[in-house]
């Protein structure tokens, strides 16, 4: 039986075994003799050459079933999603420090987990497959490991001490995968290094017979979601940056750019921007819409009985049965209509961000100021409003970025992430200029309040009617002064951010008169 017919015969059985995963019917590719399987965006591709080669020693149906079990378990169990893949890669990289080695270690670990899961929980032919695959280098070690932990004879020998260590890893405990992959990588590190060295001398590489795990396995949506989850999970910016820099080429080849998903080649990926973008997506800041206005027109609202003296014009002839008799005849009760008026919806927003020396450099560590500004930016852009940026340190000496109102997320993020260092002074003329570029925009300012001309800023805010959301990082005398100076203004809300989790507490454009008396200040 040829491979296509074999797949069609085996596929329903395999699908049922794995409880009907949402993946399409596997396809056949000519491929090479060495690699059995490729996965591209959930599509399993089985190599015909591999199948033909192995058919001499193994039943065709068994080959296909084992390959499909392996492929589906990657989809159903490990890595499951792109975030888990990135996390495992990140942990392996911490041990080996090299991209190639980390990728290979991750692939091996995911194979061990997936195959062991399958062997333990399903009726699978995977052991038979390994029995008939080549056993050299790392694959020899892994086959010996399978022998020990599955309890089947696969014809592999040696590496006792290494296998002892590898067999003590709890592969099926998902919660321990991060720790487990580190242990796993440490044990196989020297073999991987040796293999890499040999390949550099002679370019022939013995590939993983069950396929490599690359970004091809994932769709752009999955990559986007995975990066978002990864940004929230990593301990710091550097960790995210290192991983994204490693995978930059593959991401770009897939068509992923800093601005997100899309067709064609986008701008080169800037890991810093991407980090703040993805992290900000995890925090949704609500925006208070501007209050609705009475329009003055009356419209029919409900019925009431007609009485003598009430206008005939309001009689509803349909519900009055054509009669004009008090008690039976109904008239329309009218109410004043409401509308959003001219300022309907969310206004544009001017984001003022302090990037002076007292603030954290967003390209070195997680900056709450940048994260806060990014969250605000997202909130306004989602509401189809425009955002302008005023990024300043010592603005009077030219250390500032003025970005006019626009919808371009990447440009806005670039402006937000720029770090100047140095002194802190606002040029209020710039602010006035930007405010004049939109119709009564909101203002979002984020700073530690250690501003040289803070008094002028307070004075300025006391004069304007725009809604102001002021966020200060940490408490100091300056933030207290700002609070006192703007206390009487109902259009200014002040928030304190101590950690990134404080960001969602901010309500943009919140106006005090809409809040209860226990409004959270400071």
């Amino acid at each position: 039986m040829d491979i296509e017919k074999t797949i069609q015969k085996v596929w329903p059985k395999v699908r049922r075994k794995h409880l009907f995963p949402q993946i399409p019917l596997p396809k056949v590719i000519e491929g090479g003799e060495e690699v059995a399987l490729e996965i591209k965006s959930k599509q399993l591709l089985i190599s015909n050459s591999f199948f033909e080669k192995l058919k001499d020693v193994m039943e065709g149906e068994e080959i296909v079933e084992a390959i499909l079990d392996h492929g589906i378990t990657h989809y159903m169990y490990c890595p499951w999603d792109f975030h888990t893949h990135l996390t495992l890669y990140n942990e392996a990289k911490k041990v080996v420090r090299k991209k190639d080695l980390a990728q290979r270690a991750t692939t091996c670990f995911m194979d061990v987990v997936a195959d062991t899961y399958c062997v333990k929980g399903k009726d699978t032919k995977i052991p038979n497959l390994y029995k008939n695959l080549h056993k050299t280098g790392i694959h020899e070690v892994l086959t010996s490991l399978y022998e020990k932990i599955w309890g089947v004879n696969l014809g592999s020998r040696g590496h006792d001490e290494r296998i002892n260590r590898l067999s003590r890893i709890p592969y099926l405990e998902r919660k321990k995968w991060e720790e487990s992959i580190k242990k796993f990588t440490k044990v196989i590190q020297d073999i991987l290094e040796e293999e890499l060295e040999n390949e550099q001398e002679s370019p022939q590489r013995r590939p993983n017979p069950l396929g490599e795990h690359s970004l091809d396995n994932y769709s752009l949506e999955e990559i986007d979601r995975g990066l978002r989850e990864f940004a929230s999970a990593v301990e710091d910016l550097q960790e995210f940056k290192e991983t994204v820099e490693d995978l930059k080429e593959e991401l770009e080849e897939q068509g992923y750019a800093t601005g997100g998903m899309g067709r064609g080649r986008g701008n080169p990926i800037d890991a810093n921007l991407l980090y703040y973008m993805k992290l900000a997506e995890s925090y949704t800041l609500p925006i208070r819409k501007l209050p609705i206005e009475k329009m003055g027109d009356l419209h029919p609202h409900s019925h009431m009985p007609w009485e003598i003296g009430k206008p005939f014009a309001d009689i509803d002839i349909w519900t009055s049965f054509g009669k004009i008799i008090p008690g039976i005849t109904q008239i329309w009760k009218k109410r004043e209509g409401e509308t959003f008026g001219e300022l309907e919806g969310t206004p544009d927003c001017l984001i003022i961000i302090d990037s002076s020396g007292s603030m954290i450099n967003p390209r070195e560590r997680l900056s709450y100021a940048v994260l806060g500004a990014a969250c605000a930016c997202n909130a306004y852009l989602k509401n189809e409003s425009r955002v302008a940026i005023y990024n300043f340190s010592d603005a009077l000496r030219g250390n500032k970025i003025i970005l006019d109102f626009n919808h371009e997320k990447e440009r806005i993020y670039q402006a937000i992430c720029r770090y100047f260092g140095g002194g802190t002074a606002l040029d209020l003329e710039d602010t006035q200029y930007l405010l004049s570029r939109a119709d009564n925009p909101d203002i979002f300012i984020i700073t530690d309040m250690q501003i040289t001309n803070l008094e002028k800023l307070i004075e300025f805010f006391n004069q304007i009617q725009n809604r102001v959301t002021a966020v200060h990082l940490g408490h100091n005398v300056h933030s207290t002064r700002f609070k006192e100076g703007t206390e009487k203004r109902k259009n200014i809300s002040l928030f304190n951010v101590k950690e990134k989790e404080d960001n969602p507490k901010i309500i943009l454009g919140k106006i005090k008169e809409y809040l209860s008396s226990t409004s959270e200040w400071g």
Partner: protein
């Protein structure tokens, strides 16, 4: 009425036991026994979470550790697991590096293997007293840095530290060899009467040495003309 999901019973629920399950179970059981022995030592020797490093307290702690380990079957990997368990505060109520070091030394000294390698590079704490009383025909290799009093009272074994040590390394050692790839701290070899300490990097200071040999970057620094044997 027929259960529509009946045919799936065979498909989803079957999970067979594989040797991995037994290996992991046995690992957990051994670790738990080793931890019990350690907690017993702490209850006896460090009730108030204070442990004074003295000649008599070390000897007493070691004899309690020896008793605590009676009847436990373990391997070098179990010792390593224990070291990492010490590092994780959620598993051990408290870590006191002195008794912990004595206990780890006892574990190594009574292990079945003649050569033990502990991969401790990722350990956050630096364990003191590693290799205490390491007997002849035993080789202990530690990958990573260690703390104070490493290899004290060494009794013929070979201790290799693939990292750096701190103060009082090899104090009171009688025979055997300590090889340190990188650096050592003050009072190295204090009171040692025999054996060799070979250091690949620098030694901050020597102690009062009675006998034996100490090499620093392949140069004999004890005995030599500037440093004479000390007589207590």
């Amino acid at each position: 009425m027929k259960n529509p999901f009946e045919s799936f019973h065979q498909v989803g629920g079957r999970k067979r036991e594989i040797p991995l399950d037994k290996i992991l179970q046995s690992k957990e059981e051994t670790l738990s026994k080793i931890l019990n022995g350690y907690e017993h030592l702490l209850k006896n020797e460090a009730k108030d979470l204070v442990w004074l490093m003295q000649y008599s307290t070390v000897i007493k702690a070691y004899s309690i550790a020896e008793k605590g380990l009676e009847g436990i079957e373990y391997t070098a990997e179990d010792i390593e697991e224990f070291c990492y368990a010490l590092d994780r505060s959620d598993q051990i109520p408290y870590l006191i590096t002195g008794p912990a070091g004595v206990y780890i030394s006892a574990l190594c000294n009574y292990a079945k293997e003649e050569e033990i390698t502990l991969h401790l590079r990722d350990l956050n704490v630096k364990v003191n007293l590693t290799g205490y009383r390491l007997p002849p025909n035993k080789k202990l290799i530690v990958e990573g840095n260690v703390g104070d009093f490493t290899g004290i009272g060494l009794d013929g074994g070979e201790l290799i530290i693939e990292g750096s040590g701190k103060n009082y390394t090899g104090a009171g050692m009688k025979r055997g060899k300590i090889i340190v790839r990188h650096n050592l701290g003050f009072n190295t070899g204090h009171g040692m009467t025999g054996g060799e300490i070979i250091v690949g990097g620098r030694i901050k200071g020597l102690g009062k040495i009675v006998g034996g040999k100490i090499f620093e970057r392949e140069h004999l620094v004890f005995p030599n003309e500037g440093v004479k044997p000390f007589y207590f």
